[in-house]
């Protein structure tokens, strides 16, 4: 280890990950913590990192209270309905009541927001506004750069540090620099986790060279969950993975197509199909199918059933809308602004949606906390909105003191998207400043703990160096597995036993138990992962984080004995939604000493009443 220098940084606030949530947290930390040392650490380069790296064509969470378009409560009702009742309404309402101020700032900073004839933001749908967001990420990154004491690019955080002076408290984080090979120790009073959700834990549809064409960014490796799980923080709703209905092969977005272009879907015979599956779905989920708008998972369900019945592929009817040159431009720019790959797919396959209705597909599952899904850490809510079970002192603080979360990290707040993630970063930052102001004794981290982590972090390089000498050449070794080999094993286990694409998103108790067994063995083998260089060391740690997230997801899926979100996944041994026993949130905690998970239920509070009438 002598060749890896150890670099120490003593921070007040450490922000792990500089995406939408991380830039929001960095910005707001400086406002409240004027003379604090605020450090943001990013695995890539904050100018183009996180899920918004390539841009966005819409901001999907904007209330518009200034024009009396919606109230924050309406958004809670919307998110709750879409998630089949399961959201943390305190967190959701808190995000929704602040989000507009962020969007107004973005406009002031120069983000091009489209306007309608009355000068209001151009709506794509009830919650979405349209933007020219190619530079959304560089713009918010600039705000973070102006606010941070220091930004570290190309440093991957691998572990959180335990405070050794006080139980159940965090003392910062460690990681490595993938350019210099230095080991970085960030001793921090408060740590805000803003790393990404998890792509690539389930086998993707694209294979070989196209493996990276996942819907969610391939660099989002679930560190936002793995870091707190390793430290023993509680997680919630990790079973609630998301499956996306998107354009085939490129996973290009459909939101603007459905909402603004008014395109619609049909089966291969040109028939509407969703209504056909009404009775069957009602049998499974009861009244939830009557809610308006139809929850995303239930629309997926109809899609999957129609394809299973032999009437695929499903097409998006674009030929009508694309005759209007303005709408055609929007259709294309929508991809160029956020999923260039779909434009490439259509150009290569000669698909011009003006003359041909493109095919849709359902993606492999992802685990994340910011889209139409709400997996993540179990955090405290704000004092004025949270029931006692949801409140323990500081907004967005996890069950381990000193660790806060925002964005994909936080469970229970569905539909926050880019603007809501930035908002949540700001909320967490303000609370973290207060936490530090109230702090009596600083955390203490011993050299022993640091050195143990240092050895562990660089072990994959050691494994490779030693094992490589045994063999002549090539990728096959009896002593180590490479990150890509381990990743493919993980994806196969999750796909086959936890509800991936090849089994039609189905799983049952015995499959999940087998999955857990295989994941346990994989964890043992990952002790022997080999990394050829610092880039592969990053891949090795990404995989280790993904594997841990996968265990947590599988434990949760086993625990919730019902099918709450048909179309996202099916517990084929418990095919009905069961409100009597499962109208609650699921919680897990992994014991850092034994590695064992324990599960419990948490009450589900409805803090917003029902105002919208169910569609009849």
């Amino acid at each position: 280890m002598a060749n890896h220098k150890t670099v120490y940084e003593d921070c007040d606030i450490l922000i792990v990950g500089g995406g939408m949530a991380g830039t929001g947290a960095t910005f707001e930390s400086r406002y409240w913590g004027r003379d604090m040392n605020i450090v943001c650490v990013e695995k890539a380069n904050i100018d183009r990192s996180g899920a918004v790296a390539q841009g966005l064509y819409a901001i999907n969470c904007y209330m518009g209270t200034r024009w009396n378009e919606n109230q924050p409560e309406d958004h809670v009702r919307y998110a709750r309905n879409d998630l089949m009742g399961m959201v943390r309404e305190d967190l959701a309402l808190d995000m929704a009541r602040h989000v507009d101020s962020c969007v107004h700032m973005f406009e002031e900073w120069g983000l091009p927001l489209m306007k309608n004839k009355e000068g209001r933001y151009q709506r794509e749908g009830k919650w979405q506004i349209m933007i020219h967001g190619e530079s959304y990420k560089p713009i918010v990154a600039e705000a973070a750069k102006k606010s941070a004491s220091k930004i570290y690019n190309r440093v991957m955080i691998t572990h959180l540090l335990k405070d050794e002076s006080k139980d159940n408290r965090c003392g910062g984080a460690v990681g490595f620099n993938m350019r210099t090979g230095d080991f970085h120790v960030f001793r921090a009073k408060a740590t805000i986790i803003c790393a990404g959700g998890a792509s690539h834990i389930f086998k993707p549809r694209a294979v070989g060279e196209g493996m990276g064409r996942t819907w969610y960014a391939p660099w989002s490796n679930g560190s936002c969950y793995a870091l707190p799980i390793l430290l023993g923080a509680k997680m919630t709703q990790m079973e609630n993975r998301i499956v996306l209905c998107r354009f085939k092969d490129g996973y290009g977005p459909v939101g603007a197509y459905f909402l603004h272009l008014k395109t619609y879907t049909q089966n291969t015979y040109g028939e509407e199909y969703e209504s056909k599956w009404y009775d069957q779905t009602k049998e499974m989920v009861g009244d939830y199918i009557d809610h308006h708008p139809t929850p995303t998972c239930l629309r997926n369900h109809a899609f999957l059933e129609e394809v299973k019945a032999g009437r695929g592929p499903i097409h998006m009817v674009t030929m009508e809308a694309f005759q209007d040159p303005h709408l055609e431009t929007i259709g294309w720019e929508n991809f160029l602004g956020m999923t260039v790959g779909q434009a490439v797919v259509w150009a290569s396959q000669d698909i011009d949606p003006k003359y041909q209705n493109p095919e849709l597909t359902t993606s492999e599952p992802y685990v994340m906390g910011s889209h139409a899904t709400c997996s993540g850490a179990w955090v405290s809510g704000p004092s004025d909105l949270s029931p006692k079970e949801y409140f323990w002192g500081y907004n967005r603080m996890m069950t381990v003191d000193g660790v806060f979360g925002a964005g994909d990290t936080v469970g229970g707040t569905a539909h926050k998207f880019s603007s809501g993630s930035f908002t949540e970063g700001r909320l967490a930052a303000k609370a973290a400043v207060q936490y530090i102001k109230d702090m009596e004794t600083k955390p203490s981290v011993t050299e022993k703990q640091i050195n143990n982590f240092k050895e562990e972090v660089f072990k994959p390089l050691e494994n490779y160096t030693v094992g490589r000498n045994e063999i002549t050449a090539g990728t096959v070794s009896p002593s180590y597995i490479l990150p890509i080999q381990g990743l493919q094993r993980l994806q196969k286990i999750m796909d086959e036993y936890c509800g991936g694409i090849t089994v039609g998103y189905q799983c049952n108790e015995n499959q999940l138990k087998k999955g857990l067994k295989d994941l346990g063995i994989l964890q043992e083998d990952l002790e022997n992962i080999g990394a050829e260089d610092l880039h592969q060391l990053m891949r090795a740690w990404e995989l280790r984080h993904r594997a841990l997230v996968s265990q947590c997801v599988t434990e949760h899926t086993l625990f919730r004995e019902e099918t709450r979100w048909p179309g996202y996944y099916y517990r084929s041994d418990k095919m009905k939604l069961d409100d009597e026993n499962w109208h609650c949130l699921t919680l897990s905690r992994r014991d850092p000493e034994t590695g064992k998970f324990t599960m419990e239920k948490a009450p589900l509070y409805h803090i917003v009443d029902e105002e919208q009438k169910k569609a009849g």
Binding site: E28, K146, G341, Y605
Partner: protein
């Protein structure tokens, strides 16, 4: 698509290495030019293509589902505040698009919060964030009872319910 680099255009400046979110653009030590070392971890986000001062990086659709003979080229001009795209289909069809990327001179209007007025204790104790409630522009449609003393939307805790009721 995955990205690739044209041998005669790349001068090895490393802009793509600095920006790639997936850390897959590296400088090859032998040819001293950029190369995509892991095409299967490329999200085709075009960050490297946009960042290349020599226009040396291009993309070719993923071999497992994209036929050859297409092109999607881009030019991002920060000073002009625009991004221009040219899409060429396998059958030769061309489409061109230009969009704005910013409405203001780059970075000039982004708040430097360190220079903002220092918030007082009452602000620290409130639920308000920087520039709130002004920046929220709450409008006049909200029930005044559901706005707290700080001017922020809130709810009465005694109305919260547990369990199924909707």
């Amino acid at each position: 698509m995955s990205t690739f680099v044209y041998m005669t255009r790349c001068d090895g400046c490393g802009h793509c290495v600095d920006i790639c979110p997936s850390d897959i653009m590296h400088i090859d030590p032998k040819i001293r030019r950029a190369v995509n070392i892991e095409p299967n971890f490329c999200w085709e986000c075009y960050s490297c293509v946009k960042a290349c001062p020599q226009n040396a990086i291009d993309a070719r659709g993923y071999a497992d589902f994209a036929p050859m003979g297409h092109k999607v080229r881009v030019l991002r001009e920060e000073e002009k505040g625009t991004i221009s795209w040219k899409i060429t289909f396998r059958n030769g069809t061309e489409k061109n698009f230009v969009s704005p990327i910013t409405t203001k001179p780059w970075g000039k209007h982004i708040h430097k919060v360190a220079d903002a007025e220092v918030p007082d204790e009452a602000a620290h104790d409130s639920q308000l964030l920087f520039n709130e409630p002004d920046y929220l522009k709450i409008g006049d449609n909200r029930d005044a009872k559901l706005i707290n003393d700080d001017g922020l939307p809130s709810r009465e805790k005694d109305t919260f319910k547990q369990g199924v009721y909707y």
